[in-house]
Symmetry: C2
Subunit: 258 residues, 2 copies
């Protein structure tokens, strides 16, 4: 499994992806699932992938080498598309084609589903973020719900629903993203560090931050340590459940005799 | 969907279940999914169910009316089994038989999977908690991980992993359980109030608390209101992510020209 998170905020784009893959619980490995393409100052395309690694790797390769896609059926590739929306469309077509090819061969016996997050901008357009489904269609992230997730999303969703808004500062958002990953990693062995991170200021075409957060990363360890304490303190601020009216000893004895 | 939670602690048993069922997002309804059986002072069997409502209702009926089950194939029913472990076994056989019957008819086209949480004690035995799978087999809750969940479990799991222990007080556990439900309800429309609750002191055979928490419940509304604040305060105690070293204006200009 995998967990990837993209946040499209007023100030820009934050994307995070873990690196854990597994083919069965006894076959764990580490693979990069967040890739950056483009040229500083001209284009910036960040792609995070979840699901079948063979599907996403082949689809990426197809999109880089070039594919003939509707409506003109001319060869298009990630290096030459002129808008991030077109990059999302190209990647969607590549995912769809790859899944279709392999489903014919495997007749549905193998899980080949995959999904992508695609963020960035090309030229002088605004920065955008999309989620691409295995069928090739996609949706765009919007200010009402300023994040998109793929993979093992549920453990880390509530903290985003409660604390993230479109106006959240980029590095506060990165903190919330790392908290969301920390909650997921603590409850699910299929997601793990290192975590790849990219931060892009709105409408810029280079990453302001692009790094890998390893298991011994000082800030991540601080989050891991402090969050347990902070959560326990938060729980302690809420009074204990008050539905209980203790029964008298006589009533309890009577019930036991009943 | 559904969310049911059982906590087996040193001091006793706490079980919660929501009441939302859906057959498609346009077909929502409210059904009791936590049922109490037994006689005060003699036996106490609490059953929470998730999955196909037809499967769990028919299986409950079978267990109450009586089934011939291995190894003796004599009629056994929930009212006459002499141990809670046997009640779990009977319910498991009832779930398995019900799923098998209907799968023959539907040939796998209809989702009939179901699972149960079964807690309580019969006679003077200790209180125990089990989770029953659709195949009829089951596991027992143990102090290392003092809770079991069925249904929509992931949203509300991290807070249990971080704050619940075997030594948690029963009404603190009920508070954590309601928080776990609140997190789930906020992020998932398929789980909703009212929430049915039962609290049983260890080794007792009557519920100390058995109630339904409605949407306007004062304590639940307080949790709902306070938790958002408490969580934001907890997030604020952690410093913002510190990976960013702001680039100089000259460096940025150079990157834009590149």
């Amino acid at each position: 499994m995998t967990y990837c998170l993209g946040m499209m905020l007023r100030d820009g784009l934050v994307m995070l992806a873990d690196t854990r893959t597994n083919a069965g619980i006894d076959n764990l490995a580490s693979y990069r699932k967040l890739r950056l393409l483009g040229r500083d100052g001209i284009s910036m395309i960040a792609v995070a992938s979840a699901g079948s690694l063979s599907t996403t790797q082949i689809a990426m390769e197809r999109s880089i080498e070039g594919m003939s896609i509707p409506p003109l059926y001319q060869l298009e590739k990630l290096a030459t598309v002129d808008r991030i929306h077109r990059a999302a469309y190209l990647l969607g077509q590549a995912i769809k084609k790859t899944e279709q090819d392999w489903k014919q061969v495997t007749q549905g016996d193998v899980a080949l589903d995959a999904s992508l997050l695609v963020g960035g901008s090309i030229g002088r357009e605004r920065t955008r973020l999309f989620m691409i489904y295995g069928e090739g269609n996609f949706i765009e992230c919007c200010p009402d719900t300023p994040y998109l997730q793929i993979g093992e999303r549920k453990f880390g969703q509530p903290i985003l629903d409660q604390a993230l808004t479109y106006d959240t500062d980029l590095y506060e958002a990165l903190k919330l993203g790392l908290l969301s990953f920390n909650l997921t990693i603590r409850s699910n062995a299929a997601v793990d560090l290192p975590i790849d991170v990219v931060v892009v200021r709105a409408d810029e075409t280079y990453p302001e931050l692009s790094c890998r957060i390893e298991a011994d990363d000082k800030y991540y360890c601080e989050i891991d340590r402090r969050w347990s304490q902070a959560l326990k303190a938060a729980v302690a601020t809420i009074p204990s459940a008050t539905y209980h009216e203790p029964a008298s000893p006589e009533a309890l004895a009577a019930r036991r005799r009943a």
